[in-house]
């Protein structure tokens, strides 16, 4: 499991209130179920910014489809390997 996924997993579990959720690069809003609504998305973006000490522009995140896309974006903005 990549270092980024390891750090993302507790964020998703906290925001989605599900201690058992498993995320992979292929995970997307649909696969994470009804708990992944628009507010959960906003909260996850904010949580990721704080966890990795980065800032997203709206234009960077509007096109993200999967967790893999998010991992690649985080890797570009940090020194953490995807």
């Amino acid at each position: 499991m990549s270092a980024i996924v390891q750090r993302l997993t507790p964020l998703f579990r906290d925001v989605l209130n599900d201690d058992h959720i498993v995320i992979t690069p292929d995970s997307n809003a649909q696969s994470m179920g009804p708990a992944y609504d628009s507010l959960a998305h906003i909260n996850i973006i904010s949580a990721i910014e704080q966890e990795f000490d980065i800032r997203f522009e709206f234009s960077e995140i509007v096109g993200l489809d999967t967790v893999g896309d998010m991992i690649a974006l985080i890797a570009r903005k940090t020194t953490v390997a995807a």
């Binding site: 906003i42 909260n43 904010s46 704080q50 522009e57 995140i61």
Partner: protein, 143 residues
């Protein structure tokens, strides 16, 4: 009432206010919620549980976080997205509380702020801590 716009907000911006919990607040909270737990209504019962008097409802104390966000920071434009709250010590009727919040994070992408908040009593004891997530109503930006 404050009415911060997004451009006026920054990490570290803070607000606070004081409030005293009284019997009328407790009665109104009970009437509204129907929470009849004797810990909040019966001093003798509360004594028996180890408290010096009946304990103020935790969510009555936490309701002041609503005032903090909706009136003080960010104020009028606030859309409260979420609250995570801990109750660290009991509050009693007559306690004078100071409710404080400070912006800990701004998420530009979706214009959400996160406030690190606490409530202390007249003895400077922390009775509650909370993290509040708030958006700003985009329609209100025009006013």
């Amino acid at each position: 009432m404050n009415s911060y716009s997004w451009d006026q907000l920054h990490v570290g911006l803070a607000a606070d206010f004081d409030v005293t919990v009284d019997d009328e607040m407790m009665a109104r909270f009970f009437a509204t919620t129907g929470d009849a737990n004797p810990l909040h209504l019966d001093a003798e019962y509360a004594n028996g549980r180890g408290f010096r008097s009946r304990v103020v409802y935790g969510l009555l104390t936490a309701s002041f976080y609503s005032t903090l966000a909706g009136v003080h920071l960010p104020g009028r434009r606030c859309l409260l997205h979420g609250v995570k709250v801990d109750f660290n010590a009991p509050v009693y009727v007559g306690d004078r509380l100071r409710v404080r919040g400070q912006i800990a994070h701004l998420s530009e992408a979706y214009r959400q702020i996160e406030l690190a908040c606490d409530i202390t009593n007249q003895r400077a004891e922390v009775v509650s801590k909370a993290r509040l997530r708030c958006g700003l109503d985009p329609h209100e930006e025009r006013h």
